[in-house]
């Protein structure tokens, strides 16, 4: 039986990125749930105890002020919220600041500079952070 390293939720509206991020996580040994929209993400967050979340900020690409990828994190109270790695194509100063300040994301990377090893290190760190929080450390 294959032991999985943790359960990750990936929230990404672009199919190719959703596939890429999910494949990277699965190849690294994680179990993955994936979605491209706010409602499904909210539902998944209430049904499962994820060890980490990977989220895009903008879930509707043509809406410049869309931040549903962050807003859906609010479905889980901060004390129970899994650590989140943001992967975004649009590192807008205000949105990046909001991600850290209001949603306490643990890391953020930009798609144009994406490197899988760096991403997986961030995911591993996020999983570690979530588990430490759950065990009360």
């Amino acid at each position: 039986m294959v032991q999985r390293k943790g359960l990750i939720l990936i929230i990404e509206d672009k199919p190719d990125w959703l596939r890429k991020l999910a494949k990277a996580c699965e190849k690294a040994g994680y179990s993955v749930r994936r979605t491209d929209n706010y409602d499904k993400a909210a539902s998944l967050l209430t049904q499962h105890d994820f060890d980490a979340i990977v989220a895009d900020i903008r879930l509707v690409d043509w809406q410049e002020d869309n931040i549903q990828g962050l807003q859906v994190l609010g479905v889980v109270p901060p004390q129970n919220r899994p650590a989140t790695v943001v992967v975004t194509a649009y590192p807008n100063w205000d949105h990046v600041r909001l991600a850290f300040k209001d949603y306490q994301v643990s890391d953020l990377m930009v798609k144009s500079e994406f490197k899988t090893p760096t991403f997986l290190r961030a995911v591993a760190k996020a999983v570690g952070t979530t588990r430490a929080k759950r065990s009360g450390q």
């Binding site: 590192p91 807008n92 100063w93 990046v96 600041r97 850290f100 300040k101 890391d107 953020l108 930009v110």
Partner: protein, 126 residues
């Protein structure tokens, strides 16, 4: 104009002129202010006199990253806001990963500074 008596603010980095302007406006609002050009003196001061708010220039913090990371890990109730002259997103990422409470663009004027301090401390300044 609201006045806040006794609350301590420490300013770190930036030009002498900028520090002096910040000092004047914040003491005028009733804060107890200490200003330092360099991290070493500021962190030494903060060991003995914790501040309610630390406003530190990111470039200065980055030059003494290890010491600041150590301080930010033990800062208690002090709020630490880092100020950046650059709009690069990577600066925000670095600031928050260090452990800062916020990272803002360096206020261009004293009104903006007063607003930023008010927001950081949850109060209104005149």
């Amino acid at each position: 104009m609201d006045k806040i008596v006794g609350r301590r603010i420490v300013i770190v980095g930036g030009s002498e002129r900028w520090r002096n302007s910040c000092f004047d406006i914040l003491t005028g609002n009733g804060f107890d202010v200490a200003a330092f050009a360099r991290s070493r003196q500021a962190l030494e001061h903060l060991k003995n006199a914790p501040a309610d708010l630390v406003l530190a220039e990111f470039v200065e913090v980055k030059s003494a990253k290890t010491q600041w990371k150590d301080f930010l890990g033990k800062k208690g109730k002090s709020r630490v806001v880092l100020l950046s002259g650059s709009t690069q997103y990577s600066v925000i990422v670095e600031c928050f990963k260090l452990g800062a409470d916020d990272c803002i663009l360096k206020p261009r004027g004293m009104e903006e500074l007063a607003r930023a301090v008010g927001e950081a401390l949850g109060t209104a300044l005149g």
